[in-house]
């Protein structure tokens, strides 16, 4: 399945990302190529995952795994097969938070195995403009792996290519802005605030690929 994943991402997803988004990337050299590492991005569209997977060089690709809501992506059917085998998602059972189950266990396992985890800490897709409140899960993972770099990424424009609820993708240029990595400093609120400030700073640098 690893080969199928590589083929689909390199030969299908990459050309698609090029046509639909232009896949511009600023700060490519800051992209972590070795795990354990956590890539943290804002979320407005399914295109976000596509973009993050396709900007990775083929060599590092096997290690890159997006965290995904189990209740949406792994419900069953073709989407679940695709999510498991092509996206190679790390499931997050966000609907089981209240049950007391350790919903971050699969993510910890992945990081322990040396994977590069892609996380959208808003927890769901936003409207592509303002960033929603960031959930603390990323801080708990950072605390568990203090040696792992946390790399903030701002994805500009993806929410226009395929907004939440839309079925017809429309080609629009997107820009991936990769920021400087940060590390766990020992304090949750300060870490989350630092992360948010860095994401907003990248947002401020993004080209005006937004609705007016």
């Amino acid at each position: 399945m690893r080969w199928l994943r590589r083929i689909v991402i390199v030969l299908v997803a990459r050309p698609l990302a090029r046509v639909f988004t232009g896949a511009d990337i600023v700060g490519r050299e800051r992209l972590p190529l070795k795990g354990p590492a956590i890539v943290v991005a804002n979320h407005a569209s399914h295109v976000d995952t596509l973009l993050l997977l396709t900007i990775y060089p083929s060599k590092a690709l096997d290690r890159v795994r997006p965290a995904a809501a189990a209740d949406y992506f792994l419900k069953g059917g073709p989407l679940a097969w695709f999510s498991r085998n092509i996206l190679n998602v790390v499931p997050v059972a966000r609907d089981k938070v209240a049950s007391g189950e350790d919903i971050l266990a699969p993510a910890r396992e992945a990081l322990a195995a040396g994977d590069i985890l892609l996380i959208f800490p808003e927890g769901t897709r936003g409207d592509g403009e303002a960033m929603a409140r960031l959930k603390n899960g990323v801080a708990r993972l950072a605390a568990a792996f203090p040696q792992a770099p946390i790399v903030p990424i701002w994805l500009q424009g993806a929410g226009r290519v395929l907004p939440k609820g839309a079925h017809l993708p429309v080609p629009m240029n997107c820009t991936v802005l990769v920021g400087e990595p940060l590390h766990w400093g020992g304090e949750r609120a300060a870490f989350m605030e630092d992360l948010r400030v860095r994401l907003e700073a990248l947002h401020a640098l993004a080209p005006p690929q937004r609705w007016t």
Binding site: G22, L168, V170, P171, M172, C174, T175, P207, Q209
Partner: protein, 321 residues
């Protein structure tokens, strides 16, 4: 080998010499960059190197298309129009409700270029400025958002008229029949348009670097100078005057008008796109071409030279149009 030899012997000699000349000029640029980096090792020539590396790719693509024939050139320009339009519509102020209009704007590409494939000049000529002009605003009215309606409509028209319609004229030259007497075939016509337009950019830049003092449009393009503009104008006009008869059926008054007007059109296209970029608050329209920026940054002059070049040829020399 036989196949290759036959392929090249079937090409107009002037076109092959012309393409060879471009490759020679590029090799010279590589040599100069190498010399500069040896002479001043402290200075960073990364951007210049990237620019030249990108030129190799662009020239390889264009040469291959010109040698392959009209179908390949039209296909290449479809791709250029698509990327240019995508860059423009992604940066321009467009409302959330206009997502469908963006999609429809892309549909003008297959239709407009379809008229080039079908070789129906009249339809091509009226489609964008008449029918797209009426249909898009109607569709926008149907969607029902009237806030910034007029400015958004103008944005779409400008985008389609330049990225699709204007560039289409360059591709349409490839449909010139052999009976119209272009000495290096239709590909020679397109070749001279591209060479003169890009050379004009380069000449203006070089003259500006060498002698530039008086700013010509400080609020729009602060690096452009009168010296660069006039030097580029004279040099490109001379290039067109001498190369024109080799690649086009033009001579006398027609050739003189082309030589005098094309460099001005190139400058106009360049500064017009600069004004738009300044309004949008961006330096480059994307990061697609290393060292150059986006496709729109590269074809800005061509947006204005292509229709002018086409119409001067059509009026003075080509019976087909």
């Amino acid at each position: 080998m036989d196949v290759i030899a036959r392929f090249f012997s079937g090409q107009p000699p002037a076109l092959l010499w012309g393409l060879g000349g471009v490759l020679g000029a590029l090799t010279l640029a590589v040599a100069i960059t190498w010399g500069l980096s040896k002479a001043k090792p402290a200075k960073d020539y990364t951007n210049l190197r990237q620019r030249i590396a990108s030129w190799w790719v662009m020239i390889a693509l264009l040469s291959a298309a010109l040698l392959a024939g009209w179908g390949a050139v039209v296909a290449l320009f479809v791709v250029i129009s698509f990327i240019a339009l995508r860059e423009f519509l992604s940066l321009a102020p467009i409302r959330r409700e206009d997502r469908l209009i963006v999609f429809v704007a892309y549909l003008t590409i297959p239709i407009s270029y379809g008229f080039i494939v079908a070789d129906t000049y009249g339809f091509f000529l009226v489609f964008t400025p008449v029918y797209v002009f009426m249909f898009l605003p109607f569709l926008m009215a149907c969607i029902g958002q009237t806030r910034a309606y007029l400015t958004t409509m103008a944005t779409f028209h400008w985008a389609i008229a330049t990225c699709v319609y204007a560039l289409g004229f360059a591709a349409f030259l490839m449909r010139t029949p052999l009976s119209d007497g272009a000495p290096a075939g239709p590909a020679g016509l397109v070749f001279l348009l591209l060479v003169a337009t890009e050379a004009n950019d380069v000449f203006q830049y070089c003259w500006g670097k060498a002698l530039g003092k008086r700013k010509i449009m400080p609020t729009v393009s602060p690096n452009k100078t009168w010296e660069g503009f006039l030097g580029g104008w004279a040099t490109t006009a001379a290039l067109l005057w001498f190369a024109g008869p080799v690649f086009t059926p033009l001579s006398g008054v027609g050739l003189a008008i082309l030589a005098i007007s094309l460099p001005v059109a190139g400058f106009a296209g360049d500064v017009t796109m600069s004004a738009i970029k300044r309004d949008l608050g961006v330096k480059d329209t994307s990061g697609l071409i290393p060292g150059h920026g986006g496709i729109l940054d590269r074809v800005d002059s061509l947006l204005f030279t292509a229709p002018l070049y086409f119409h001067i040829l059509a009026y003075f020399a080509l019976d087909h149009f």
